[in-house]
């Protein structure tokens, strides 16, 4: 399995994701944003961080970089794309995923472990999880408040495109278990072909029991298959 991690100026979870991919035996390459060509890959990851300082809007400027055109091409030809945190924001800015990520409801940066529920385990990203499994996973963002229009929300419900929702430890999805105000507690979504996943929580931070837990491992092992 060949993976590529796109590195923008200001990306800062690039090393963390590379460590995770290597640990899971992916053949990984780091791709600097000024490159005009992507190495052949089965999986492209846009990591978290503050690309271009999150200036203007988070993800906006990275969304205009030359490498992103290559990512769009790859996506259209069916390559798997995973955007984590800032990566998710970049994917919405390019239009590969619909909707947008607004400022957190409390207007503060939030870093903590939260619970999320796996809504759809029939995708290339989540096949190793059980349906409705609850994961404990770290979030760290200023703009994670997912928003989209009613039509798109309906479409996502119909086609099962909502990947994860924030919930409490018992799996209840409600306002109390919503850390950032995201519409319907949405923590991650797919595009309609389900080859693109954008998520705010950081699976790469959950692969080592010494640091946290290993709830993120199955995301990578699902992809390996």
């Amino acid at each position: 399995m060949k993976s590529s991690v796109i590195v923008f100026p200001g990306s800062n979870c690039d090393r963390d994701i590379a460590v995770a991919l290597e640990k899971m035996q992916f053949k990984n390459q780091m791709v600097w944003h000024k490159e005009t060509e992507l190495p052949k890959s089965d999986l492209i990851i846009i990591p978290g961080g503050f690309s271009y300082g999150d200036y203007l809007r988070s993800g906006a400027i990275a969304g205009k970089s030359s490498i992103i055109n290559e990512v769009i091409k790859a996506a259209n030809s069916g390559c798997l794309i995973l955007g984590i945190c800032n990566g998710f924001q970049i994917l919405t800015e390019t239009g590969l995923l619909k909707g947008t990520l607004l400022r957190n409801k409390n207007l503060r940066f939030i870093n903590k472990d939260v619970n999320i529920k796996v809504l759809n385990n029939e995708t290339k990203f989540t096949s190793k999880y059980k349906k409705n499994q609850i994961l404990r996973i770290n979030i760290a963002h200023n703009e994670g408040n997912y928003f989209t229009n009613a039509k798109h929300l309906d479409e996502m419900r119909e086609k099962n495109l909502i990947a994860f929702k924030y919930c409490d430890e018992k799996g209840n999805i409600n306002t109390q278990s919503n850390p950032n105000g995201a519409l319907n507690n949405i923590a991650g979504i797919y595009n309609s072909k389900k080859n693109i996943l954008g998520m705010m929580p950081h699976p790469e931070r959950m692969i080592d029991k010494l640091v946290s837990n290993d709830d993120g491992i199955n995301l990578f092992s699902s992809l390996l298959k």
């Binding site: 203007l56 619909k98 947008t100 400022r103 409801k105 409390n106 207007l107 408040n145 928003f147 105000g181």
Partner: protein, 80 residues
Amino acid sequence: MKFSVTVILKKDVLDPQGKVVQNTLKDLGFLNLKNIRQGKFFEIELNENDEQKAKNAVKQMCEKLLANLIIEDFKISKTK
């Protein structure tokens, strides 16, 4: 030639920032505040004498980068 551009969230988009600002202002005692919306503001200076061309360029800047048309509207006006 100088332009000023305002970018603001579309009406049907949730505005967490505006809401917090509104509540804070109310707490500060501004009881006659009816509504406040927050957006971005740009002051753009171009090396271009043809007003139509300049305006067009600014419009493109907005469409390509400065505004996210899915959630935001923009307005351009010429300043002296």
